[in-house]
């Protein structure tokens, strides 16, 4: 069993006088120790709600419903009481947010925030904790860590704050780290530093990393396997190479066709997905992507496409997936039969 097993997670927000929002709708994925799993998708597709639900950070409101399970090392995180959850959070499970300011305490110096974590989770005090904190800040690439320990969050640049936050997340050597758009607000050169750090953490400490991002480039460089989300559902799951080489869900293929690549030339036309995420079916059945999908069939509008699992461990929710190259297009509703050599390549990664 994987270190974290999220099964059929769903989150709905109901507000009086407003339509109920299915922010997350039956999301399942798992992460092993030392593995990086990506959740990728566009704004509003449910990435943050997924991670907040797993971490138990969604505000408890009458209209908020959480379903499914998120089993971490034998314990369902969703069933924990506050105390048990606080205990596990920080020690075994940590999270990095997109906006580091919101998760740092503005009136406490960085150093104290790091040593507090060390005291709470690793029982370090005094000079030992201080030395460890300096070492951590140094390791995350904060120049002059001795001086920085005394500074407050607002005195650090955005990149520096994000690194301080990573230092705190690393401080307790979490077995699971959830990083929600950890580099989106940062410049690319700083992003490169931070991604490198996260990779080191995974390789050296065997941390399981859930990497949440909208950036397909980041995913291509970081993740072992990837879940593509659209409108609260996982529409495709695959290992890294097969996903990029032969996307099966039309949304995944559409995303890949839309991004300009640094290594493609001036003026090569992009192939955008028509419409926008706001175009949804006016009834809840059917594939949420159908209004924008070029492969849409009548069947797509009738019911939620079932999850198709192929022998090589990938899966997608699509009635008429993009055919694999060299494969006779499948009948609607049936997955295509990959040719033998394709097969080998697919399973390689």
């Amino acid at each position: 069993m994987a270190l974290l097993d999220v099964n059929d997670l769903s989150v709905t927000f109901a507000r009086r006088g407003q339509r109920t929002v299915h922010a997350v709708d039956g999301v399942s994925f798992s992460v092993d120790a030392g593995e990086v799993v990506g959740l990728v998708g566009e704004s509003g597709c449910g990435k943050s709600v997924t991670s907040m639900a797993i971490m138990g950070l969604l505000p408890r409101r009458p209209g908020t419903r959480i379903g499914g399970t998120a089993v971490f090392d034998g314990t369902d995180l969703l069933g924990l009481d506050d105390r048990a959850r606080r205990d596990i959070r920080g020690r075994d499970v940590a999270m990095i947010f997109q906006d580091p300011l919101s998760s740092l305490n503005p009136v406490i110096p960085i150093g104290l925030q790091v040593t507090e974590v060390l005291a709470r989770h690793r029982g370090m005090t005094g000079d030992t904790a201080r030395k460890e904190a300096v070492g951590l800040l140094d390791r995350v690439g904060i120049p002059d860590p001795n001086r920085r320990l005394k500074e407050y969050p607002h005195q650090l640049s955005g990149g520096m704050r994000q690194r301080a936050l990573i230092a705190m997340a690393v401080a307790c050597r979490p077995r699971l780290l959830i990083a929600d758009e950890p580099t989106t607000a940062l410049d690319v050169t700083i992003q490169a530093q931070i991604l490198e750090l996260l990779k080191e953490l995974v390789q050296e400490s065997g941390t399981a990393l859930v990497m949440i991002t909208h950036d397909l480039g980041v995913v291509a460089g970081m993740c072992d396997s990837i879940n593509v989300l659209y409108a609260g559902r996982v529409v495709e799951t695959a290992r890294r190479r097969p996903l990029f080489r032969t996307p099966r869900h039309p949304y995944t293929a559409g995303l890949l066709g839309s991004v300009p690549r640094l290594d493609s030339g001036r003026g090569e036309p992009l192939n955008p997905i028509p419409g926008s995420v706001r175009d949804v079916l006016s009834w809840p059945e059917g594939c949420a992507f159908a209004p924008r999908c070029s492969r849409r069939l009548d069947a797509c509008l009738d019911e939620t496409p079932p999850l198709v699992r192929t022998h090589d461990g990938r899966s997608y929710r699509c009635v008429d997936p993009v055919p694999l190259p060299g494969v006779v297009p499948a009948q609607a509703g049936q997955p295509g039969t990959p040719s033998p050599e394709r097969n080998e390549e697919e399973t390689r990664d």
Binding site: G159, D224, R240, R241, S258
Partner: protein
């Protein structure tokens, strides 16, 4: 190229913002040199892309070019007319020909105005279109050009998606019949699938209307895609300028190389083989830029001589303009990156010697394995 082909020329442009301190007396205690001596030319009908990290002065340069921020020094020549010394009335008349598109379509559109009133405003300011019907016709054409339906006219900005709002912003510029459009981060607030729609729209409009663009963006892939020439800024100055394709295949300035190598490419094969030049530390403050080469505090190739005390000027090197003392010797690999303070990493395997090309040619077979 004759001078007639140049629509915009910027000469030694400077924008210094005073840093004020004090309660009773606003004492100026220094200056943020947001733009500090930029020269560039944009040929008519072409796109000049400006890239660089946040705070390097891209937006300030764009605003100073349009005279929306008063330059501290230097000249801006638009279609043969020097703008910085132009009397206000004549400048106002020129304004119609130079328009701007902003990053966040929501905050740049007045939420209380419907689309028709947003688009009418500029026409009235510039006295275009004699009566309501004429203006309506112009507005209708602008909507067609940006791909918005007529019913949009009576709607308000919040009723549109981000991509549609950006189209409204583009329509607001296009309706005035401008020659130059300065687009500041036109797609960075948009989702990937919507970005491509807007990028394609900008391309189409350029083609059909003969527009000249200055596109400011931090996303290098977007800039490469739409620009003919790209300028790379660091701390208020251009460090390299080259034709788009050349900049990406043969980056010469160490900062350009670092920037290129840091951009993630959505292709696992490319990602696994690339060399990443990691820069140490953060951007120094533009209020107190380093002496000599402004990049020397982070430059992996910085040399003991010249870099720390002599500011490199832009020089022509085989079709690019580069501000680095050692560009040729870095390109020929005679000089290697020092590992002190900055690192060069390869993705999956550590064994091979680093390559000098940030993105290896796609023909090389990948043999790395993961997991």
């Amino acid at each position: 190229m004759t001078d007639n082909d140049i629509l915009v020329e910027v000469r030694d442009l400077k924008v210094h913002f005073p840093i004020k301190r004090g309660v009773l007396f606003d004492r100026t205690i220094g200056h943020v040199k947001a733009v500090d001596g930029v020269d560039l030319r944009i040929p008519r009908g072409q796109t000049y892309g400006l890239v660089g990290e946040s705070g390097c002065g891209k937006s300030t340069l764009g605003r100073a070019l349009l005279q929306l921020t008063a330059p501290t020094g230097g000249e801006v020549v638009f279609d043969g007319v020097e703008l910085t010394t132009l009397p206000p009335a004549r400048l106002r008349a020129m304004r119609r020909r130079m328009q701007m598109i902003f990053q966040d379509p929501m905050s740049s559109l007045d939420p209380r105005q419907n689309v028709e009133s947003i688009l009418t405003e500029g026409l009235q300011t510039h006295g275009i279109g004699g009566n309501r019907d004429e203006r309506r016709a112009l507005i209708g054409e602008a909507l067609d050009k940006v791909g918005l339906p007529r019913w949009a006219l009576s709607r308000y900005p919040h009723e549109f998606s981000g991509g549609q709002r950006q189209r409204i912003g583009i329509a607001r510029a296009v309706v005035l019949g401008p020659e130059l459009i300065v687009a500041d981060e036109p797609v960075s607030a948009l989702d990937v699938s919507i970005q491509a729609q807007v990028v394609n729209l900008l391309d189409e409009l350029q083609e059909s209307l003969g527009l000249t663009y200055l596109v400011i963006a931090h996303d290098l892939a977007v800039v490469r895609h739409i620009s003919d020439t790209v300028g790379v800024m660091y701390l208020g100055a251009l460090v390299e300028e080259a034709p788009s394709d050349r900049l990406y295949t043969e980056p010469l300035h160490p900062y350009t190389r670092a920037l290129m190598s840091a951009v993630p490419v959505p292709d696992p094969d490319v990602e696994d083989r690339r060399e990443r030049i990691l820069l140490a530390g953060d951007l120094p403050s533009p209020a107190n830029p380093p002496a000599g080469c402004r990049f020397h505090t982070r430059c992996p190739w910085a040399q003991p001589t010249r870099c720390a005390d002599e500011r490199p000027v832009l020089r022509d090197i085989g079709g690019s303009r580069v501000a680095c003392h050692w560009a040729e010797r870095i390109a020929s690999e005679e000089l290697r990156p020092n590992h002190a303070g900055a690192g060069v990493t390869r993705a999956s395997d550590g064994g091979e010697a680093p390559e000098s090309v940030p993105i290896p040619a796609p023909t090389v077979k990948a043999d790395s394995t993961d997991g």
